[in-house]
Symmetry: C2
Subunit: 182 residues, 2 copies
C-alpha cells in the first residue's frame, strides 16, 4: 500500500452553521505538493436505516431534499446525536421518520459519500422485527412512508425521484444479505 | 405529489475555490418556514464510469481521498468540463485515469450524493469495447488501476478501502444490467 500524503498544513477557511471548509497543503510521496479543500463532517457520522417490515418489504420515505429542490424517495437517515451510539441513533431515526422501532438492529457496513472532498461516514443499519412506535423529530412537515418490495428493486430504480446513491447501495447490499441468509 | 416548498429567499453565505454555500428561506406547503443551508455544485455535474475490460472484469482505481485521508478503491470519476458532453467527459476521464478509451459508452442512470444538502448530480456511464489510449490529467501522482470481477462483487465490499456509495450502487446496477442482457 502506498504511503499516505503528508499534511503540511490545515486551516479552516469557512465555517457556517452546517459546513466547515478546510484547506489542506499536501505532499504526496513522489514530492508533489498540492493544495486541497475538503468539508469536515461531524466526527460521529450519520446512520442510514433499512427498516424491513417483513422479509421483502422495506419502508422508504419521500422527503423534501433542499440540495436538488424536489421530493426524494430514499431510506430514512440522520445524524448521530451527541452521546448516542450508532444503533440507538438508528432506532430513534426510524421512530421519528417511519413510525416504527426495531427489536433487531445490525450494523452491516459504513459508506462514504464523496471521500475525495467530504469526511462524512454513513453507517448502514438493517432494522428487523419492527413494532409501531413513534418519536417526534425536527421535520418541518409529515414524512410520507412508502413501502416497497426488495423483489421490485429494479422498478424502484426507474423512478425519477429515487437517485440517492447510499440508499441504492444499501438496498442492493441488504437484498444480497437476506438472500444469502434464507 | 406534494407541492414543493416555496423559496422565499436565497443568498450565498460562503464561497471558496471549491465550495459554494447557500442559505435558503423555505416555506413548506403547511406554512412552516425553515432556514436551510445547501452546497451548490457545478450545474454540469460529474461522471462516474464503469469501464468493462470484458463482460466480467471492471477497472477500478485506487486513489488518494483527501476527505477521509486514505486511499480509496472506487470507479473512475470526474467533473464535466465546460463545453463537454457527458459521454465525452466519461471517455476523457477513463483515458486519464485507467489508460483506456471506449468504443461504446452508455448513460445508464444519474445519482445524487446527499440530495438533502448537495445539489451535485453524477451521471453513471457504462464503457465497453475498450482500447488502450491515454491522456494526461491533473492527478498529482500515478493512479493504481485494479481489475476486479463483477462476479466477486461481494468480496470487494469486504475491503476496508471500498466504501464510496456511488461506486457500489453503480457496480450493482451494471451487474444487473449485464446479467439481463446476456
Amino acid at each position: 500500500m502506498r504511503k499516505l500524503p503528508r499534511i503540511l498544513g490545515a486551516q479552516t477557511i469557512s465555517k457556517t452553521r452546517l459546513f466547515h471548509v478546510e484547506q489542506l497543503d499536501l505532499e504526496f510521496s513522489n514530492g508533489v505538493v498540492v493544495q486541497y479543500e475538503r468539508l469536515r463532517g461531524s466526527a460521529r457520522g450519520a446512520v442510514l436505516i433499512v427498516p424491513m417490515l417483513d422479509t421483502d418489504t422495506v419502508l422508504l420515505i419521500r422527503e423534501y431534499a433542499a440540495g436538488v429542490q424536489r421530493y426524494e424517495l430514499a431510506l430514512p437517515k440522520g445524524r448521530i446525536e451527541h452521546g448516542e451510539g450508532i444503533i440507538e441513533a438508528a432506532n430513534r431515526e426510524i421512530m421519528e421518520e417511519v413510525g416504527y422501532a426495531a427489536h433487531t438492529l445490525r450494523h452491516i457496513t459504513s459508506l462514504t459519500v464523496a471521500p475525495g472532498y467530504l469526511s462524512h461516514t454513513t453507517h448502514v443499519i438493517l432494522a428487523q422485527d419492527l413494532y409501531p412506535c413513534t418519536a417526534v423529530g425536527d421535520e418541518p412537515e409529515e414524512i410520507e412512508v412508502v413501502p416497497w418490495k426488495l423483489s421490485q428493486l429494479n422498478e424502484l430504480l426507474q423512478c425519477d425521484d429515487c437517485t440517492e446513491a447510499r440508499s441504492i447501495a444499501a438496498l442492493f447490499m441488504v437484498k444480497e444479505l437476506l438472500k444469502n441468509e434464507r
